[in-house]
Structures are given as structure tokens and as C-alpha cells.
């Protein structure tokens, strides 16, 4: 375990660390989970931001993480993405300990973060060095997010919603097992947001990617999630898990969603988030 902790202490991305000595330390991870995160502790200076947070994502599952600002939601997501390796604990992707970013994990941020000098197609295929002319994979990805016609456009020509669709396509380009989203639809208008939410559900259902989404929007969490996790602050702990056993194609007016929303609200209230 010392070995693992030391490796985690180093924010390195080198995949040679995924060697056998690391794997030995994680024999307790049950198979089947696309991602298994256990953060024993994450500190910023003296402040303990996350405390014994454990969560597991099954393939095709859509989990929403809610909580007050500063409760460590985004920190947890950054740890899961491999962007923050300075914590005590471990992240497993497909049962293998993972240090640093991996193609098996796709990330969408609050902003689209597209490279402004690359076309839409080149942004989607950025990881592999840009799109080939007539790249079928890129065309299929753009088709999936409804932007087939925009392959040659530059990011400046896109609306906010379109840019975020490109970001989704880029995150899925490496066929990840896990998709992480950090308040991805918070900067778009309400109608665009609803469309993007439905797109996300569709993408998750078709690709079977395990999805963890941080959101501030309780409606969004209730509508999208199979499970809503409520994180409490100071230190960040998982306060409650609310299962949403509703069919996948949901009706926004479904009264059962109102019930889910009020349970999430109650949980947030209990976590002193409100």
C-alpha cells in the first residue's frame, strides 16, 4: 500500500505505473464496476475537502452528484479524471488502478474548452492528432450529437449549446468506459439545456458509458440520474444516495420526479447545503 500511496502522491500520467505491483493492491475491487473511487482524504492545506468518499459507477449508469458550492464535488470529479493525484485513496477504472488521465475516461467541463484554432472535426479528433479527411469515426460522433453539418466550422461560429455538443463528442471520441461531466449545461439557456439533457441520456444509453455528472440543478439531477448522490460540505462526505428507479425515457412532468426532487432537496437541507 505504501507503494500505491507514493505513486498517487506523484501527479504523473505515465501508464507504466499500471504495472503488476499496483494491481496487487486492488484485489478487493469487485469486477463489474466501470469506475470505483475511494478517496480516504483530500486536503487543501489544513482543510479536509473530502473525507472517506467512496463511489462506484456501473456501466451505463448515470449518477448525479449534488451539493453546496465548495463541498468538493468538482474536486472529486477532478480526482476521478486523473487531473488531481494529490490525495489519499485510489481510482480504479475497469478494475485497474488508474493514475493520471486515461482514454478510458472522458471529461466535459462547464465550458466547452474547444481549441479555437481547430475545426469542429479536428477538435473531436484532437487526441489522435486531428481528423482525417472523410473520417468516418468523427462523422459518426458528430452525427450522434447532431452536428454532422458543422464538421468544418470553427468554434467561434458555434452557439454555446453547439460548442458543448462538440465537447461531448470529443469526450466520447476515445470510446471511454466512464464519462465525467462538471456542470456541463449550466451556461446555456433553459431550452438548450433540456435538449442537451435528452442528448446526454441518449448517448449514455447507446454507448453504455458509466456517467458521473456534477450539477447544481436539482431538476436536472432528478430527470437524468439513476442515482443522485448528495455530498455534504466541511468535510465533503457522501450524505445520502437517492435512487431514481424510473424508466429511462422520462416525462419531465412525471409527478414521481417531483417526489425525487423533494427528496433531494430534503437531503441537501439535511446536509446544510441550503
Amino acid at each position: 500500500m505504501r507503494m500505491i500511496e507514493r505513486l498517487y502522491g506523484e501527479p504523473r500520467r505515465d501508464e507504466s505505473h499500471r504495472g503488476p505491483q499496483v494491481s496487487q493492491g486492488i484485489t478487493d475491487v469487485p469486477s463489474g464496476a466501470a469506475m470505483d473511487i475511494h478517496v480516504r482524504a483530500k486536503r487543501f492545506g489544513q482543510r479536509r475537502v473530502l473525507d472517506d468518499v467512496r463511489l462506484r459507477l456501473a456501466p451505463g449508469e448515470l449518477v448525479c452528484l449534488v451539493g453546496a458550492s465548495g463541498c468538493g464535488k468538482s474536486t472529486l470529479l477532478r480526482i476521478a479524471a486523473g487531473l488531481d493525484a494529490a490525495f489519499d485513496g485510489r481510482v480504479c477504472v475497469d478494475g485497474r488502478a488508474q493514475i493520471g488521465p486515461t482514454p478510458a475516461v472522458g471529461v466535459v467541463f462547464q465550458e466547452p474548452r474547444l481549441f479555437p484554432w481547430c475545426t469542429v472535426a479536428d477538435n473531436v479528433a484532437f487526441e489522435t492528432g486531428g481528423a482525417e479527411p472523410g473520417d468516418a469515426r468523427v462523422a459518426a460522433l458528430l452525427d450522434d450529437v447532431g452536428l454532422r453539418e458543422h464538421a468544418a466550422a470553427l468554434p467561434r461560429q458555434l452557439s454555446g449549446g453547439q460548442a458543448q455538443r462538440v465537447a461531448l463528442a470529443r469526450a466520447l471520441a476515445s470510446r471511454p468506459r466512464v464519462l465525467l461531466l462538471d456542470e456541463p449545461f449550466s451556461a446555456v439557456d433553459a431550452f438548450t439545456r433540456m435538449k442537451l439533457q435528452d442528448l446526454l441520456v441518449d448517448l449514455v444509453r447507446r454507448s453504455g458509458v458509466a456517467t458521473l455528472m456534477v450539477t447544481h440543478d436539482i431538476d436536472e439531477a432528478a430527470y437524468l440520474a439513476d442515482r443522485v448522490l448528495v455530498l455534504q460540505a466541511e468535510p465533503g462526505r457522501l450524505r445520502e444516495t437517492i435512487d431514481v428507479p424510473l424508466p429511462r425515457v422520462r416525462d419531465r412532468a412525471d409527478p414521481r420526479l417531483a417526489d425525487v426532487r423533494s427528496r433531494v432537496l430534503q437531503a441537501l437541507h439535511d446536509a446544510h447545503a441550503l
Binding site: L114, F115, C118, F126, L154, R156
Partner: protein, 294 residues
């Protein structure tokens, strides 16, 4: 390979090309191309002041308001150039242009290398930047005696002058460009596990390009200025020589002719650079680019 980590940590949070805020409707970004009447109007307005000044000075000279020794009329200036002969004038232009081209190339190459080093590594920054800032403060003419002593009176001191002039603006542009790269974009590159070289080539350099281009343009205009300073002393060709020659023979028409040629060369080369810049930076989401059309 600790270099990439250093790069990632060192990038400032200032973001000149922050990904643009969401919310604008589709198609709102296709800026209107400048219309033909609009361009004509701009050209007329741009030419208005020079034409008026030319007419006024011509009139002032002809009507005897000012001595033609001090302010020759535009026709005198043109005649001076004609008297020199096309070959001589072209020879001076070619000599100066060749010097600027060579000196600028040397200065720009050194500036891009030094600027990249200082922009990417904090140790290089701590080591080099303070000295460069001090050297930058030296006025152009102060270099002349030193370069003459060191390099003699041939082409070498002139090229060195021009290289020095071009170096600092370009260096500043490269450093500012690299240090100002949006941290958020670098994070995306990190998620994609870009190697250090790929990170520089595919993310940092393109992102720094607007600032680098500004530096290159400023460097070019300074290269012309330093060229004159270099040619004022110990030259037998070039526009700087023409200036000196005009002063020594009390020929204001020659001096003015040289000045006009300098203005034209500077303007032409800057316009060429601006065209390159527009082409390279057409992806930028700025009012500037849209007003000029894609």
C-alpha cells in the same frame, strides 16, 4: 521528463483566448464582410490627409510662403528621386530592404527561441528575463558606437543593430503569448496525455500565436528604425545613407525623399505582415477579425 509538468504548473491563469461564453445563437458569428463601397470609402478617407498635406506643401512652396531649401515641394522631391535615377534609388531600397530582411530574420529567430524558453520554464525566466529587460531599455543609438568598435564598419554592425531592434518586441510577444495560454485548454491537453513536444506544438504555440504575431509586427517596425540608425553611420548605400547624404549636402529634397521611401517600405511590409496575421489567426473570435471579413 519533468519539463511538461513544469509547463503545466507555470502557465498563468490570464486567458486572452478564453473559450467564448455560451449563449449566442447559431450564425451570429458570421460577421458581415466589408462591402465594396465601404472599402472605397475607407480608402478615400485614408488618402485624404496625405493628399491635403501634399497639396498644401506644394502650394506653400510655389507661392513662396516657405523657403524651398527647408521645405521642398512634393514635385521637388519627386524630381530629386528622378535625378538620382531609378537604378540608384532601387539600389538604396534594395540595400536597406536586404539588411532589414537579414537582420530581422536573425533577431526573430533568436527571439522566438529565447522567448519560448523563458515562457515555458520558470528557471529560464528567472535567469534570462531580468537581463533582457535591462538590455531592452538601451536606446538604439547607444548601440551604434559599441557595434562599430566591435564589428567594424561593414555589414555586420548594421545587421546586429537590426537584429537587436527586432529581438525585444518579438521576445516580449512570445513570452507573453506562452505565459498567457488558457490554463483550461492546457488541462484538456493533459487529459489527452499530450507529450511535452506535442503540447508545445499543438496547444501552446497556436494559443500564443496572436501575441507572437503582434510581437513580430512590432519587431518589424523597430527593425526599420534600427536599420536607419545603423545606416546613418558608415554606410555607402541604403536609405539611411541617403538621409545622411541629404543632410551633408543640405538637400532637404533628398532627406524628404528618403523619409517618404522609408514610410512606404514600412507601411508595405507591415501590410504584408498584417495579411499573414489575418490568415493565420482567422480562427480568432474577435471584433477585429470579423470587421475585416474571414
Amino acid at each position: 521528463m519533468a519539463a511538461d509538468q513544469t509547463i503545466l504548473l507555470e502557465l498563468g491563469s490570464a486567458s486572452p483566448l478564453d473559450v467564448r461564453e455560451a449563449g449566442a445563437p447559431a450564425g451570429a458569428r458570421t460577421g458581415p464582410r466589408a462591402t465594396v463601397p465601404g472599402r472605397t470609402r475607407a480608402a478615400v478617407l485614408a488618402g485624404l490627409l496625405p493628399v491635403l498635406v501634399l497639396l498644401a506643401s506644394e502650394a506653400a512652396g510655389r507661392l513662396g510662403w516657405v523657403s524651398s531649401n527647408l521645405l521642398p515641394t512634393p514635385t521637388d522631391v519627386v524630381r530629386a528621386l528622378v535625378d538620382l535615377g531609378g537604378r540608384t534609388v532601387l539600389g538604396h531600397l534594395a540595400a536597406s530592404t536586404a539588411r532589414v530582411a537579414a537582420g530581422y530574420a536573425i533577431g526573430a529567430a533568436l527571439a522566438v527561441v529565447a522567448g519560448s524558453l523563458v515562457g515555458l520554464s520558470s528557471s529560464a525566466r528567472a535567469l534570462l528575463d531580468p537581463s533582457f529587460q535591462a538590455l531592452r531599455a538601451i536606446p538604439s543609438l547607444a548601440w551604434v558606437p559599441l557595434l562599430l568598435l566591435w564589428l567594424g564598419i561593414g555589414e555586420a554592425p548594421k545587421l546586429a543593430m537590426i537584429a537587436i531592434g527586432a529581438f525585444f518586441p518579438i521576445y516580449m510577444g512570445v513570452v507573453a503569448g506562452i505565459r498567457g495560454v488558457d490554463r483550461k485548454l492546457v488541462e484538456v491537453a493533459r487529459l489527452m496525455r499530450l507529450r511535452p513536444v506535442a503540447l508545445v506544438r499543438r496547444v501552446l504555440l497556436p494559443a500564443a500565436l496572436p501575441s507572437v504575431m503582434t510581437g513580430l509586427r512590432n519587431g518589424l517596425s523597430l527593425a526599420w528604425m534600427f536599420m536607419v540608425a545603423g545606416e546613418l553611420i558608415a554606410a555607402s548605400s541604403g536609405l539611411g545613407y541617403l538621409l545622411t547624404d541629404g543632410r551633408e549636402t543640405s538637400r532637404a529634397d533628398l532627406v524628404l525623399a528618403a523619409i517618404v521611401l522609408l514610410a512606404m517600405l514600412g507601411k508595405l511590409s507591415d501590410a504584408a505582415m498584417a495579411a499573414v496575421e489575418r490568415r493565420l489567426l482567422s480562427w480568432r473570435d474577435t471584433v477585429d477579425v470579423e470587421a475585416r471579413g474571414p
